[in-house]
Each structure stands twice: as structure tokens, then as C-alpha cells.
């Protein structure tokens, strides 16, 4: 008994996707439960989660995982019914079981199976602490079993117009209509997988019209004691029986429907549907709403995004064509039509672009939800008392940014706990509340997302930083603390397994700045605490940029990097120590002629006009003025990665294609600053 290869792959993928969400919820509810051990909502939710994990993993043949989930389910069944009390050691055992589940799923996701995972000791501990005698055979589902009214509904097919038309089409093809009732023995564990196998086999030889209960949306295992399938097939009864035989199925009843039974079933359904919709009016308020989202592979979204990009290009070509047509004489009515069509296309394309943009965005909760557990575990390990506050979980950010952001953020929080917050005694000694506070927040501000991590710990040791980095007394404290982000910096004297390992804030800063095009800064008050603020773009795929031209080619500078655009007069350019400096209104900053950098030394010669366009770019390192030929326009550019073959000097951060097919290179301003600092154009 095995699924066909494709089916198994599909099931596995679906399982992994679902379990990701499931584990997150499990974690969340466990933490909730730890704070409030009598919360019935968390207990019920955890019971439900472990239960579905048990069934789903069994369906895919992950016996270890299923057993582990099963034992957890037992424990929570006991807690629900009051036979098991939730002690601190039991809570710890539950957490280790949940960790093991995480680990097993991580293994499965990289293509391994769960067989060589050692789960016995965890299970033994769970059982002992919960005081559960080993159970034999039966399962303790008492409370989940459907009540009598639900049972009466079991197996009743509800045939709407869609089902009716499927039946009619099948009859026209000369197929028979069958109703199959599959009954699994009451004692059988894992009923869903069994009936699913029957369904799976049936699908190969028949056209399934409906199943009751719905087999494609797994529910409580107990509901699958009986499965009713309505299907059409050209095969006869005997062939069907043969085709769908599966072990441990108690009974298979197959019934051939004639015209009359079809009509009866349809009219019965119609009456019932009216009754149902009336009844649902008062039940819907209590029923669980799972939300109306579906999971979509990111690659598919990228594909759509790509296509919309192409559409934008052709839209621009069309409107150009329209402009040409408009200039010609005659054909007035056609011109009007072309104009309307072109305008509509433009509007729709823009809206579509925005809508697809929206699908890339996810609430930052997907990231923040990991932190309560992290803080819990770490604070216990360190013997510190910590209260974690999280704000702005609903703030939306590009999915790709979330992925990269996870590690740096985790590291910052570890640092806060490890180095920032004092232990309870130290805190009492300085008359602070012995419980330390960490606050994580996110909000959108303009085109950026601001993330802040604040603690009320001891703050950074400015003197030590000054000493270690060799910074003079004249530099202000605000500036000194920023050096924790400089490459190779770390104030840690002894290495713990927490935030030691040589990975410091410098690595955090590099990832945020280079991979995410973001900014990070720190503020610290001795004895009061530390605040780390991260500024991130909403998305990495669209960049609001200034398009400029230089020696006949087009380039773009991200608007977020631009301080101002200026008219540079020849006499405002002075030479200082061999380098050109732009000096105006008392300001001085390095000046870089982009032409020679991009197109070779001869490229600035023919452009010796007295007044030039300058773009003042501002970065952490300071300001620089870039001399360009023309300022063309501001534009939202869709950024694509650039091939190494075109970027061996790493001058660009990406490339974009304009509406008319024009290709634009995006200047990497940070790199250009670096070039100036390390000795100018000759160095690259």
C-alpha cells in the first residue's frame, strides 16, 4: 500500500507547509499556557494541534513523529479532563517534546526520515511526569467524538447544481453513478489514512463527484469512521470492489444509482440546503473562522511578477505607438479608441503591479512570533527574569526581507539578554525592578519599516568601546557607540555559547546594510538601557530612483540615498591633497566625476561646461557629490539582479529595464563611497 510517487510528493509538500504553521501555533500556545496554566483555550488548541499532527504524520508514514504527537495529545487530553496536573517539570518535558517535533520536521524537510530519531527518553519523561499509565489499544477521544445530532448528518450527500451537472455529463458519457460507503472498524487507529487510501484508489478508476465528510480537508480522525463517496465510472461493481480493496476496512457498500435515486437525492439536497442556510445563521458566530488565505509558492509569485514586468514594457510601447498615431492626420475615431484602450491598459497594469506587490508582503509577526520562545529559553539558561513586549506585529514587509532579517534580529535579542540585561541581584542593587524588560516593535514610516529592539539593561560601556577602538576623547558618545557595527568589533571578554562564536554586531550590521539595503543605529544610556533601531526598505524589488545620464548611458541612483541635487560651478571645484572637492556655502565634500569612473578616463573631456549637474549622495560615511551629465527623471524601478560578467567592479546593485526597453544600471552608492575613501578611481 503506497501512494503513487507524484501523490506522495504533493502530500509531503502540503504536510511540510502545514506543519510549519502548526508548529508556530503550538509554540505560541505553549508559551501562553506557561504564563497562564489554567487557560482552557490554549489547552484545547494544543490538543487540537497535536491531534492533527498525529494524523497527518501517520498518513505519510512518519511513525516516530506520529507517536510523539500522540503522547503529547494524551497529556493534553489528561490536562483537559483534569486527570493530569500541569507542573513545572511537566511543562519543561512538553517543551522538549515540542523541540523534538521541530527537529524531526526539519529533518523531514531536508529529505530524511524520522526513523533514527531518539524519542524514547522524551516520551518516557512525558509519561512519568504526567502520571499516565501506558495505554493499550484504545484512544481517549471521549470529548472529541461527534455528538448525536452530528452523527445523524453523517454520510448525507448534498448535491448542488455543480454536482448535478457532473452526474448528467457522466450519464451522457455512458458511465454509471455509484454511491460507496466505506466503514472503518471502530477500534482502528488512523481512520483518515485508511479511508484516504480507498479514495485514492477510487480516483484512479473513477470520477469522484463528492465525498462526505470532505476528504480533501482533513478533520478529526473520528469523523472518518464512515466515508460516503459519490462517483461515476464505466466499470462494473465487481471491478470497483477489486480496485479499492484496502486492509482493515470493515465494510465496503456499493450502490448503483438509477435515474430515480439521482432525482430523489438532488431534490432532497435542495430542501436541505435551505434549511441549512437558515440554521447556519445562528451557528456561524460561534464557528471557527480559519481565514481566507491560501499558500502560494514564492516562485510562482515571482513568475507572475516577471510577467507583469513584461506587460509594463509592452504597455509603454503601445502608448508610444499611440503617440505616433495621434500625430498623423485623419482616422479621428480610431485615434480616440486607441487612446481609450491604451489608457485602460495603463491603469490596469499599474493596479496589477500594486496588487502583486501586495502578495509579496507578509506581516512581520511571522518573524516576531519566534522571539517569545527564544527569550524564555535564554532567560532561564542565564538565570535572568525577563518580560518581553512585542508591538506592531501586523506591520507588513517583503517576504524576502523577512528571510534575511531573521538571523540578525535573533542575534540582537540574544545580545540584549546576554550582555544588556543584568541578573536579578545586580538589578536590585541598582534599585531596578528585578524583572528586566525587552521591547520589540515594528512600524511603517514613509517607504520604510522601522524595527526597534530596546532593553532596560546596563547600556553600552562607552569607555571600553573607546579604548578598544582607539577613539579619541573628542568624539561624542553617540558616535562612539556606533563603532559596535564596525567590522571586527566585539566587546565580549569571555565567550559564552550564546552570543560569542565570534559573530558580533558588525556582522549584523553588514547583513542589514548590504543584503537588505537598510540602516542600523544604536542609542545607549549607561544604566538605563540600549535601543537598536533598524530601518528597512518595504521591498527590495521596487526602488524609487533618480535616473541620470552619463556619457550617453543611463544609470539610476536610489532616491533614499540622495541628499539633494545641485548645480556645480567650475570655481566651486577645488583640489585638496590631489583630490577634487566640491566646496559651496561653507560645505566641503569629496567630488567624483561619474563619467570617467563608468566609461574610462577620456569621458569627461568633452563636457567642460561651466555649470554641471551634481547629485549629493549621503551615506553613513558622509556625503559625496557625483558629477553627472543630465538628471533625467524620477522613476519606480523594478530591480533585477545583475550578472557578475557586467559588474566585475561591483559598481552596481542591480539592473532595470525601462518601459521603452532602455536598460538602466543601479549605482551602488555605498560602494562608490568606498572607492573614494580607498583612494579614488584608480583603485578600482
Amino acid at each position: 500500500m503506497s501512494f503513487s510517487g507524484l501523490d506522495e510528493q504533493k502530500l509531503l509538500r502540503a504536510f511540510l507547509e502545514e506543519s510549519e504553521e502548526l508548529l508556530e501555533k503550538l509554540n505560541e500556545n505553549l508559551l501562553q499556557l506557561e504564563r497562564d496554566s489554567s487557560n482552557p483555550d490554549s489547552i484545547n488548541e494544543i490538543f487540537r494541534l497535536t491531534h492533527s499532527l498525529k494524523s497527518e504524520s501517520a498518513l505519510l508514514g512518519f511513525a516516530r513523529l506520529s507517536e510523539l504527537a500522540h503522547r503529547l495529545e494524551d497529556v493534553f487530553d489528561g490536562i483537559r479532563s483534569g486527570t493530569v496536573s500541569l507542573s513545572r517539570p511537566l511543562m519543561d518535558a512538553i517543551f522538549s517534546a515540542s523541540d523534538l517535533i521541530h527537529e524531526i520536521i526539519a529533518r523531514i524537510s531536508i529529505g530524511k526520515n524520522d526513523e533514527d530519531v531518539e524519542s524514547r527518553s522524551v516520551i518516557r519523561e512525558l509519561k512519568q511526569l504526567a502520571g499516565l499509565a501506558p495505554k493499550i489499544g484504545t484512544e481517549g477521544y471521549g470529548a472529541v467524538a461527534p455528538d448525536e445530532t452530528e452523527r445523524a448528518d453523517e454520510g448525507r450527500l448534498v448535491l448542488g447544481d455543480f454536482e448535478y451537472s457532473q452526474i448528467m455529463e457522466a450519464l451522457e458519457r455512458g458511465e454509471n453513478i455509484y454511491r460507496l460507503t466505506v466503514t472503518v472498524s471502530e477500534e482502528a487507529e488512523l481512520k483518515y489514512p485508511r479511508v484516504y487510501l480507498v479514495f485514492n484508489k477510487l480516483e484512479m478508476i473513477a470520477n469522484v463527484i463528492q465525498t462526505v465528510p470532505n476528504i480533501t480537508v482533513p478533520q478529526e480522525d473520528q469523523l472518518y469512521r464512515q466515508l460516503v463517496v459519490l462517483f461515476s465510472s464505466e466499470l462494473d461493481k465487481e471491478e470497483i470492489y477489486k480496485a479499492c480493496s484496502v486492509d482493515l476496512i470493515e465494510k465496503l457498500e456499493l450502490e448503483l444509482w438509477d435515474e430515480t435515486s439521482i432525482q430523489e437525492a438532488v431534490s432532497a439536497s435542495r430542501g436541505e440546503e435551505t434549511a441549512r442556510s437558515a440554521a447556519s445563521a445562528h451557528t456561524s458566530s460561534t464557528s471557527r473562522i480559519e481565514g481566507t488565505s491560501i499558500r502560494v509558492d514564492t516562485n510562482k509569485l515571482n513568475e507572475i511578477w516577471q510577467l507583469v514586468g513584461e506587460l509594463t514594457i509592452y504597455k509603454a510601447q503601445l502608448s508610444k505607438l499611440h503617440d505616433n498615431v495621434a500625430r498623423q492626420k485623419g482616422n479621428e475615431s480610431i485615434k480616440g479608441e486607441v487612446e481609450r484602450a491604451s489608457d485602460s491598459l495603463e491603469r490596469i497594469t499599474t493596479e496589477m503591479q500594486q496588487a502583486i506587490m501586495g502578495t509579496r508582503m507578509v506581516p512581520i509577526a511571522v518573524l516576531f512570533n519566534k522571539f517569545p520562545r527564544l527569550v524564555r529559553d535564554l532567560s532561564r539558561k542565564l538565570g535572568k527574569k525577563v518580560d518581553l513586549e512585542i508591538h506592531g506585529k501586523e506591520t507588513e514587509i517583503d517576504r524576502t526581507i523577512v528571510e534575511v532579517l531573521s538571523d540578525p534580529l535573533t542575534h540582537i535579542i540574544r545580545n540584549s539578554l546576554d550582555h544588556g540585561l543584568e541578573g536579578p541581584e545586580d538589578r536590585r542593587a541598582v534599585e531596578k525592578d528585578e524583572v528586566g524588560h525587552i521591547m520589540i516593535s515594528a512600524h511603517q514610516q514613509g517607504g520604510q519599516v522601522v524595527i526597534e529592539i530596546a532593553d532596560d539593561g546596563r547600556g553600552l560601556d562607552v569607555d571600553k568601546i573607546r579604548q578598544k577602538a582607539g577613539i579619541s576623547r573628542e568624539v561624542s558618545e553617540e558616535e562612539v557607540v556606533q563603532t559596535i557595527f564596525s567590522p571586527g568589533f566585539s566587546t565580549k571578554e569571555d565567550v559564552t555559547d550564546l552570543s560569542g562564536r565570534g559573530v558580533g554586531m558588525d556582522v549584523v550590521a553588514t547583513r542589514i546594510r548590504e543584503e537588505l539595503k537598510g540602516e542600523v543605529e544604536v542609542r545607549s544610556e549607561p544604566g538605563e538601557g540600549t535601543l537598536i533601531r533598524i530601518l528597512l526598505p518595504l521591498t527590495l524589488t521596487i526602488l524609487h530612483s533618480l535616473v541620470i545620464s552619463c556619457a550617453g548611458y543611463y544609470y539610476a541612483i536610489p532616491v533614499q540615498d540622495i541628499d539633494e541635487t545641485v548645480r556645480v560651478l567650475e570655481e566651486e571645484i577645488v583640489i585638496q591633497e590631489g583630490s577634487e572637492v566640491y566646496s559651496y556655502e561653507g560645505n566641503e565634500m569629496p567630488l567624483l566625476r561619474l563619467g570617467p569612473v563608468l566609461c574610462g578616463p577620456s569621458e569627461d573631456q568633452h563636457n567642460r561646461s561651466r555649470e554641471r549637474n551634481g547629485v549629493v549622495v549621503e551615506q553613513r560615511r558622509g556625503k559625496v557629490c557625483l558629477l553627472v551629465d543630465e538628471l533625467v527623471e524620477e522613476e519606480d524601478l523594478v530591480i533585477k539582479p545583475i550578472s557578475e560578467l557586467l559588474n566585475h567592479r561591483r559598481l552596481f546593485s542591480g539592473v532595470s529595464v525601462l518601459g521603452d526597453g532602455k536598460i538602466i544600471f543601479i549605482l551602488d552608492t555605498a560602494r562608490i563611497m568606498e572607492i573614494i575613501e580607498t583612494g579614488g578611481v584608480d583603485a578600482i
Binding site: Q306, G309, E310, I313, A551, Y553, L598, C599, G600, K640, P641, I642, S643, E644, L645, L646, N647, H648, R649, L651, F652, V655, V657, G661, I663, F665
Partner: protein, 147 residues
């Protein structure tokens, strides 16, 4: 049945790359010059909104450049998410090659940088060089193919 190869010509030499590495073959049209690119990069082409670099294999192999004729083709290669174009003098044919007919040790015959060569095959009257095209495309300074 052996693997399928695309056979192309540069100067007098015949070269082959596996069909599985090729995404499409197009004419040399609408190639935009890029001043910042490496010397052996002729420019870029825009295919479906993607910006693809075009490498001139003549320059890459330090041969004299030739005028573009109607025989020239750009072979678009795909590896993972990236696409590359290579300009060749002409595409000859698609050929089935048995593993047996490929001699890996014969790489030195041409006096060519061994890391670019996967093997040599003799087809009818000429010698075919099986290229490791992605090594050829790496950004290391160009290496003369012939000494």
C-alpha cells in the same frame, strides 16, 4: 543513445555544448553596449525583461574580432536562475554523441586551457571540442585558447 549536443563554430574550430545547457538560439540583434563590462562582453540583450550579458567567444579566446554576418548566432545558456549569451560565428547542427566517442585525455591536442575542455570527439572529418562553457564564462582574465 548518447547525449545531444549543439555544435558551433568559432574561427576554424568546432565546439560542442550539451543541449541541456542551452535555453535558446537567436540572431545577433539589439545588443546594447555596456561601457563598464569586461572586454570580452559585447553588451547586453533584453529577453523578456531580463538583462542578459553577451560574451564574444572570439574575444574570450583572444582571436581577432570579425564582422557580424547573418551567420552569427547568440546561444542563450541557462544555469540555475541566470542566463548568459555567447556570440558564436555560426551554429552547425544538433548532434547525438555517445560517451564512448568522447576522449577526455585528448584535451592537450589543441593546446587549449584544459579546464575549459570536457573532452574531444572526432566527427566525420573534423575534431570537436566539448567545452565546459560555464568555466569559459567565469570572470577570470582571458586565457589564450591556443598557444
Amino acid at each position: 543513445m548518447g547525449k545531444k549536443y549543439v555544435v558551433f563554430q568559432i574561427g576554424e574550430g568546432h565546439y560542442a555544448i550539451p543541449v541541456t545547457e542551452v535555453s535558446q538560439i537567436i540572431r545577433y540583434e539589439n545588443v546594447t553596449d555596456v561601457p563598464t563590462a569586461l572586454p570580452f562582453v559585447d553588451g547586453i540583450i533584453n529577453i523578456g525583461g531580463d538583462v542578459i550579458p553577451v560574451v564574444n567567444l572570439r574575444s574570450r579566446f583572444s582571436l581577432s574580432t570579425a564582422e557580424i554576418t547573418r551567420k552569427n548566432r547568440v546561444i542563450i545558456l541557462r544555469r540555475q536562475d541566470s542566463r548568459y549569451g555567447v556570440l558564436v560565428d555560426g551554429v552547425r547542427e544538433i548532434l547525438d554523441l555517445d560517451e564512448d566517442s568522447i576522449a577526455p585525455e585528448a584535451a592537450s591536442v589543441f593546446g587549449m586551457k584544459a579546464e575549459f575542455v570536457r573532452g574531444i570527439a572526432k566527427i566525420r572529418d573534423h575534431v570537436l571540442v566539448l567545452l565546459d562553457i560555464f568555466k569559459v564564462l567565469s570572470t577570470a582574465p582571458e586565457v589564450p585558447i591556443k598557444e
